[in-house]
């Protein structure tokens, strides 16, 4: 029987791997992100609401830049009572050759079959 501490450490590990995978995919081939969302996934992009993998993926793919680079400054992860993983990321991103901007993003991950899926997500620029 795992202690709460062990579960939280596992969540930290899984969450940490996931966000790095997410931003790497976003930066190299963001169309592929569609596979991480479900039909019920909810994404707020600076207050704008997108629901479901199709709408979310379309929104992300059509963002108005060619090149993007995300850099994670801090990332924190916790297990929720329902065994989802809650992640809060603070970082910086650069679109094309614009100046870097600060961002703040929250993810909620749920395990479906053997994969972690994004069921809630909220993104905001903070600078």
């Amino acid at each position: 029987m795992f202690s709460q501490k062990q579960h939280q450490e596992e969540a930290q590990q899984v969450g940490s791997q996931f966000v790095r995978y997410y931003y790497n995919l976003f930066d190299t081939d963001r169309q592929q992100l569609q596979n991480l969302y479900t039909p019920e996934s909810l994404l707020y992009w600076h207050g704008e609401v997108c629901r479901g993998s199709t709408q979310i993926s379309s929104g992300i793919t059509n963002l108005p830049f060619n090149k993007i680079v995300h850099v994670i400054t801090t990332d924190d992860h916790q297990l929720t009572p329902q065994n989802y993983i809650l992640s809060m990321v603070i970082g910086q991103l650069q679109m094309d050759s614009n100046r870097p901007v600060n961002f703040h993003e929250t993810f909620l991950l749920k395990k479906e079959s053997q994969s972690w899926m994004l069921i809630n997500q909220a993104f905001r620029f903070t600078s």
Binding site: T80, H104, N120
Partner: protein
């Protein structure tokens, strides 16, 4: 006029109560806003359970604190919890104001009361200035 969704109303109520208590009381009752097995990550340090969380929040090293919320987002989750993301500024004592980032997860108890099960807090000092 668009009606506010229920999760937004509950979320706003929680956020207001949380920062009101944080800023205007000795924070000794803040623990009551959390569920029994709640988790807090404060600047990367984990705290488990209401007692540990209360202890941390009650022992923060400032006399005065003021939070100002710039942005807040509320989302319902598929298991009927509420996810809250807050960004704002805070000022402790006479220190210069700093940005802060905070995420809360709220869950309702059988009696209908909402409590915080997850809380993640970071100061906005870690990013390289842009």
């Amino acid at each position: 006029m668009a009606e506010k969704e229920i999760w937004q109303t509950i979320g706003e109520g929680f956020v207001q109560a949380y920062y009101q208590q944080f800023d205007n009381t000795d924070r000794s009752s803040l623990g009551l806003l959390y569920a029994d097995g709640a988790c807090l990550t404060w600047e990367g340090q984990p705290f488990h359970g209401r007692a540990a969380i209360s202890g941390k929040l009650g022992s923060l090293p400032f006399k005065r604190i003021k939070h100002l919320i710039t942005e807040q987002d509320f989302q319902p989750t598929i298991d009927s919890c509420i996810l809250i993301m807050v960004f704002g500024q805070l000022q402790a004592d006479d220190d210069p104001p700093m940005g802060f980032h905070q995420v809360f997860m709220l869950k309702s108890a059988p009696n209908g009361a909402w409590a915080c099960t997850n809380d993640v807090f970071r100061l906005g000092i870690h990013n390289i200035p842009v």
